[in-house]
Symmetry: C2
Subunit: 176 residues, 2 copies
DNA sequence: TATTGTTATACTCTATAACTATA
DNA sequence: TATAGTTATAGAGTATAACAATA
């Protein structure tokens, strides 16, 4: 159990990390804001999925997810095919163009981080990743009460899995 | 030097940390959004200062700082007295009401973090703080090119110091 | 009746540019 | 001419609520 002073300092660091995120966002292509980039990244990592699953991974409301998805779909980076098993749902899938876009994003991100964190060791980066992952886990599903996927449904979704085989490597155990 | 996979994972974690920030923001009073809370926090830590110094600590443009400051000033949480040495500047100072507000914010923040991070050790929280601090340092002053305080002026500002004696302890070397 | 997803609306945060007052 | 600060405007992200289609 940490002291109050530490908690206040952590809160300050969380508030200030926004500057880092903004610096990262600044290298994104003009037609691909952060929300779109997140959609492409998660589809690339976890493979095809439904809106509700994506909203869960993004940790935002489904209405927000819907807007981000509409944006990338308009640009032809993903397909939205109807789910044969549930006509209310749509299956999201990266197109070839979307995969190209994602490769470009990865390239830019890696380049920026390699430049900024040139003096960090592999181990140090790993420690930060591990602690940030654990931080998110400690906060759990902290979206506003309404319309949060209940545990039962989350389990069902996990068991259900993605409808198409994810081509991307799934090397990490991180939630998202 | 870390691998590309790690960089991509770190980028993902930075993107996803927003959910934690939103959960923190949810406990703020209705008339005190995140920007206002940040202003109060920094004034409490570093003592009285000018707009430009606050913008530097917030790592946002001065126009943004101006809006946040106007909001807290309207509510009587800070004073904006003219700087006798430079009539263009204003000295920002927490009022008693502002200090009360800040205490309330600290209380809520600490309570939430104590709840969420109950199973974290003091050392683990310290590690996360340390790595996040270093991350911000590695990114440095990454605000958009225009109107970023040049090094010479930053040094001058540091030497200049705060106009009134900061009551708060200045025990850390962290940029903000 | 409950769930999936969409849309309309509102709020917060941010940056750019134009403007004023002072140095 | 340059700097400190303000304001107007625009863009991105998010949540809430109302709605349509389907289970």
């Amino acid at each position: 159990m940490a002291e109050q002073t530490q908690y206040e300092e952590l809160a300050r660091q969380l508030s200030a990390i926004g500057a880092v995120k903004r610096d990262m966002a600044r290298i994104l292509p003009h037609d691909c804001p952060g929300g779109s980039a997140a959609v492409l990244t998660l589809l690339g990592r976890h493979g095809d999925m439904r809106m509700s699953r994506l909203a869960e991974l993004l940790a935002v409301d489904m209405s927000v997810t819907s807007r981000h998805v509409a944006h990338v779909a308009e640009r032809g980076w993903i397909d939205r095919s109807p789910d044969p098993a549930d006509k209310r749902s749509r299956i999201l899938r990266l197109t070839d163009a979307g995969r190209d876009r994602l490769d470009e994003l990865s390239r830019r991100t890696t380049e920026l981080l390699a430049h900024r964190l040139g003096d960090w060791t592999d181990d140090e980066v790993g420690q930060l990743i591990g602690l940030m992952t654990r931080l998110r886990e400690s906060f759990g599903d902290c979206r506003p009460a309404s319309r949060v996927t209940p545990p039962a449904l989350a389990a069902e979704a996990a068991a259900h899995g993605t409808h198409a085989a994810p081509v991307s490597t799934q090397t990490t155990r991180t939630p998202a």
